[in-house]
């Protein structure tokens, strides 16, 4: 099964950088589904899920950004108390570590989408599927 491709960027922590990133994507007609910025002093890492990862990657790369693509899991969780717990406890019980995660709410009713990078993506997929957690496909992300 194909994985969700997340775009990650290395950016200096200074004014205007994020604007440059979003302008580059918008000019190319790439839509950002979800994003997060992790900052570490002088620099930060921007991670995002977009509707067309390959195109997003290419335009950012051509604009001189340090960019990479990473496989992540996008899982649906109930947008109610306990929704996150269900997922992370399942992973924890199976000794799967979450490197980072971020979430967004979809247009679909009562569903939130959790994006995760885990140390063992196959194991995570098996574990969550066996618990009946719905894992989104790239096509579904594109169509949101």
């Amino acid at each position: 099964m194909s994985e969700i491709k997340q775009i990650s960027l290395f950016v200096e922590n200074r004014p205007g950088r994020m604007a440059k990133v979003s302008k580059t994507l918008s000019d190319a007609g790439v839509n950002i589904r979800a994003m997060t910025i992790a900052e570490a002093g002088d620099f930060g890492v921007i991670r995002m899920v977009v509707d067309d990862p390959q195109k997003g990657y290419d335009v950012l790369r051509n604009s001189g950004f340090t960019v990479s693509m990473t496989d992540v899991l996008a899982v649906e969780m109930r947008d109610t108390p306990g929704g996150l717990y269900e997922i992370v406890s399942a992973l924890g019980e199976n000794n799967i570590n979450i490197d980072y995660a971020y979430a967004f709410v979809t247009a679909k009713s009562e569903k939130a989408m959790l994006i995760m990078r885990v140390d063992d993506i196959e194991a995570a997929r098996r574990t969550l599927s066996s618990r009946g957690v719905k894992i989104a496909t790239p096509e579904e992300i594109q169509k949101i």
Binding site: E12, V45, T66
Partner: protein
């Protein structure tokens, strides 16, 4: 010796120059070859001016003959080694015979005497002890004049200040920036160096420092701040100013100095700024003939007000190459480059930013992250940052802050890259 008439001093220098020229020719294949290339033999040295017939020696010669290729005696004559921090990965090694240590010690004993120190003094040696020449050099010189040595070496500043008070140090030898730091720490401890200690003199060197810094030190702490000069290749710290603080006295019976135009190699007159060239007249394990240290200064041959007849060199004005002196340690951009080049996660462009935070030098190395080095896990990037810092420290012996930046951020230059931004006001 120190007030010997100039003519007698020159006669002595000529005798010693003839002797050392003959000695290196007989004992060193390196010098024999160099002399042959220059078409000169020891017999051509008949007067002091004949010195200009001899070829220059450079730091690169020491590196190329690493470790002991320039030694003129079998190694069992060596009683001590000192090793420089190294520039392109290869350090320079200096060996000393018992007599060489004696020359070094005598030179510093004269220097310390000239600033008014003697057997009643307690000299706190805050230079590093070890492969670096500062600590042990000052230690021997201070013992020679009968002073009590307090060998604190570097670091542990609060304890240094306590001991300075408890054992009544009257003089301190360290880098000027470290002393400024010490003064700040003392203030935080509620100790006034002026009122609460017996300190009256400081012997400061191993890094460039300005007259403004001298004034600042003297005004804030009430001590007299003296400039000390020397470099490991010619022994280590050797010469200081006298109490008149008007130039550094270079003992002419031990070292023959010239000032040359760094471009043409021609000798310059008194008062003209140029590159210092030193010939060692009384060093036997590793004598140096017309050694180009790379420091820019001005020579003054007229006797000093203090009555000493030996020539003086004025405060070092700068270096002919791009060496940085950070917290008393020599750092070459090429060393940093060689470290970075071995780390594939970062690109070839870098920038060195040196600043002074409080009284201490701080070095920051900015380097561009490559696509290959990019991980979207912050932890990986932090680990890379730490690894670069550690490798820099291993090579430089000094800690450097590392900043990872995006490609293209570091300014490019079509000519000679400006890699160093030194914001210290020296």
């Amino acid at each position: 010796m120190e007030r010997m008439p100039i003519e007698d001093l020159k006669a002595l220098q000529l005798d010693r120059l003839k002797a050392i020229t003959r000695y290196v020719y007989d004992h060193s294949s390196f010098y024999r070859q160099r002399f042959a290339e220059a078409g000169v033999t020891p017999d051509d040295i008949r007067e002091l001016d004949d010195l200009t017939k001899l070829p220059f020696t450079r730091k690169v010669d020491l590196r190329n003959t690493y470790p002991t290729g320039m030694f003129c005696l079998p190694k069992n004559w060596v009683v001590r080694y000192h090793v420089s921090s190294g520039t392109t990965g290869k350090p320079t090694v200096v060996g000393y015979t018992k007599g060489d240590i004696e020359t070094w010690t005598e030179s510093l004993a004269r220097a310390l005497t000239s600033i008014g120190l003697g057997r009643n003094d307690v000299i706190q040696v805050g230079y590093g002890y070890g492969l670096f020449t500062g600590g042990l050099g000052l230690h021997y010189g201070a013992e020679r004049i009968g002073a009590a040595v307090l060998p604190t070496s570097t670091g542990n500043t609060e304890r240094q200040i306590e001991l300075m008070q408890d054992l009544e140090s009257t003089a301190i030898a360290c880098t000027p920036s470290y002393f400024l730091h010490m003064a700040e720490v003392a203030e935080r401890m509620g100790v006034s160096i002026r009122d609460d200690t017996k300190l009256k003199a400081g012997v400061f060197g191993a890094e460039p420092w300005s007259l403004e810094t001298r004034r600042r030190i003297e005004d804030t702490t009430g001590i007299k701040a003296y400039d000390i000069y020397g470099t490991s290749e010619i022994s280590g710290p050797l010469f200081t100013e006298c109490q008149h603080q008007n130039g550094i006295h270079v003992w002419a019976d031990m070292f023959l100095i010239e000032i040359i135009d760094p471009k043409t190699g021609e000798q310059l007159e008194d008062g003209e700024r140029g590159e210092l060239v030193v010939t060692t007249l009384n060093k036997w394990a590793m004598p140096l003939i017309r050694y180009r240290i790379g420091d820019l200064t001005i020579m003054e041959s007229e006797p000093c007000e203090c009555g000493r007849t030996h020539p003086r060199i004025m405060r070092i004005l700068g270096r002919t190459d791009d060496m940085l002196v950070i917290r008393g340690i020599n750092v070459f951009p090429s060393q940093i480059e060689s470290v970075l080049m071995n780390i594939p996660e970062v690109g070839p462009h870098y920038q060195i930013i040196v600043s002074r935070e409080g009284a201490l030098d701080v070095m920051k190395v900015r380097v561009e992250l490559t696509d290959r080095g990019f991980s979207d896990r912050i932890g990986d990037l932090m680990a890379l940052n730490r690894r670069i810092s550690k490798e820099l420290k291993n090579v430089l012996n000094i800690s450097a802050e590392v900043e990872l930046v995006e490609p293209g951020v570091i300014p490019r230059s079509e000519g000679k890259a400006k890699r160093v931004i030194d914001t210290r006001k020296v």
